[in-house]
């Protein structure tokens, strides 16, 4: 891997900065030694439990009545046919939302799998089946991150004791790839049709 820098590496590490300063043109290539894996970490964040997602989606504080459903093979096929989205499981976690005994909406918890990510999300629907809100509950990437020795060393070279970096800190923020939310959009499409087919009466 080659690294080209301007300025930023004042924060990221002095070896690179020195190279940049030494040469006149701003494109400089540096081979970063990729020796030794220091830590393997996963990028996973839990945003909500079921209860906190329910509160976030319905802050008016209604009651949630568990109403899980099991789809028949015919229903699964019908959802797949109508939406073009694969129905992986025949069970669906559903809560009927009630305010003073009247239907106030639906709350569904669903999971989608991307190529490298695994997402649990909550979908809140109005009584007539329109999307009220979507909350990601749990997001996991399964790349198995390697944070390498040399890279951390570069990082530390640019740091002072006043600005400590925790080696074992969770990976919370990543820049570098725009992950599409397509799988969640497809999941929502599938659940909207499921509402139409099974919940709407």
């Amino acid at each position: 891997m080659r690294v080209v820098t301007r300025g930023l590496l004042g924060d990221l590490g002095s070896p690179v900065l020195q190279l940049t300063d030494f040469m006149s043109n701003w494109i400089h290539y540096l081979t970063v030694p990729m020796a030794g894996v220091a830590a393997v970490s996963a990028h996973a964040t839990v945003y909500h439990s079921v209860e906190s997602a329910q509160r976030a989606c319905f802050p008016e504080g209604p009651s949630f009545v568990a109403a899980d459903i099991t789809l028949t093979k015919a229903q699964m096929r019908s959802i797949e046919k109508a939406t073009g989205v694969r129905v992986r499981l025949n069970t669906q976690r559903v809560w009927r939302v009630e305010q003073q005994g009247a239907l106030a909406g639906w709350f569904l918890v669903d999971e989608v799998l991307g190529k490298h990510e695994y997402i649990t999300y909550a979908l809140a629907l109005t009584p007539d089946g329109a999307v009220r809100s979507i909350e990601v509950m749990d997001y996991r990437e399964n790349y198995g991150y390697e944070v390498r020795n040399a890279d951390w060393r570069i990082q530390f070279l640019g740091k002072t004791k006043a600005d400590p970096v925790q080696l074992n800190a969770d990976i919370k923020n990543i820049t570098g790839a725009t992950l599409s939310c397509r799988h969640v959009s497809e999941g929502v499409k599938r659940l909207l049709f499921l509402h139409d087919l099974v919940l709407k009466r």
């Binding site: 930023l8 945003y47 997001y139 790839a177």
Partner: protein
């Protein structure tokens, strides 16, 4: 004294075609929760007026009719168009918001954005009264700047609602505010599981552009969502450009200048007090 770090809220929603995460800290949970809601509302508002995927958006109305007559838009869309065209001029077209017809041809944007013999950014006129006019057939796409702009709006909303510190991350376009430094890792485009760089971001924005995750085949050639506007070719080499700047719209847009014209980027980075990190094979 009430500590500003009593409460932290971290939320994630699908928005702007990606996952948007908002982290905010403040004196008590209700205040922080309200601030986070306001931040998401701001981003939904920007998405609704500036999306090319929504045929009802202000930008879509411009694309549909600005060749025939001047089209009036809201202050905010006009402001982002002004920023876009300003940067297009300053970069001699290395940043160009009019590459939509090419992306439409490759199937990466809706097909109705496709145009034959399309003009470029220099054929767009911004007129008094927030009106937009095209002098040649073209389609504008603010995808290279609006996500960053939405992040800026979200940060402003968090502050205005009393949050003391936090971070908004829209699929890698992110901005941190407050005194808490936020650790941000930079992904290696050649090997997404490896995070070779990390920085602590404080009162600054970071955006990354890389073709490595959107590459696909079109007409037996490789294409991606990144285009060199001067030759209409897709950028398909293994490269990732990260720019740090004071605001996220700027970081977002400058990544395209660094990709397409490094020599010009040097001047612009200096002018805006911005910095770039480029990873390549």
């Amino acid at each position: 004294m009430i500590s500003c770090l009593n409460a932290e809220v971290r939320r994630c929603r699908p928005l702007l075609g990606t996952f948007v995460e908002v982290v905010a800290r403040g004196p008590h949970p209700e205040l922080v929760q309200r601030a986070v809601e306001a931040a998401f509302s701001e981003m939904e508002r920007v998405a609704a007026s500036m999306s090319v995927h929504d045929p009802e958006s202000e930008l879509s109305r411009v694309n549909a009719s600005a060749l025939l007559r001047p089209v009036a838009v809201g202050n905010e869309t006009f402001h982002v168009l002004t920023l876009s065209l300003g940067l297009a001029r300053e970069s001699n077209g290395a940043f160009d918001p009019s590459v939509a017809p090419i992306l439409a041809r490759w199937g990466l944007l809706p097909s109705y954005l496709g145009r034959r013999q399309a003009g470029s950014w220099s054929d767009v006129r911004l007129l008094p009264g927030c009106r937009v006019r095209f002098h040649r057939p073209l389609s504008l796409d603010l995808g290279g700047i609006a996500k960053g702009y939405a992040v800026d709006c979200a940060v402003n909303a968090l502050r205005a609602n009393g949050a003391c510190s936090g971070l908004v991350n829209a699929g890698g376009d992110l901005r941190a505010f407050g005194n808490e430094g936020e650790a941000v890792h930079v992904r290696n485009p050649m090997s997404p599981g490896s995070l070779p760089f990390m920085t602590t971001l404080r009162e600054a924005a970071l955006a990354t552009s890389s073709p490595c995750f959107t590459q696909r085949t079109y007409d037996r050639g490789e294409v991606s969502h990144l285009v060199d506007p001067r030759n209409g070719q897709a950028i398909t080499r293994a490269i990732s450009v990260t720019v740090q700047a004071s605001e996220c719209w700027l970081a977002d847009a400058l990544t395209k200048v660094v990709l397409n014209d490094p020599a010009c980027a040097e001047t612009l980075l200096e002018r805006y007090g911005a910095e770039a990190l480029v990873l390549s094979e």
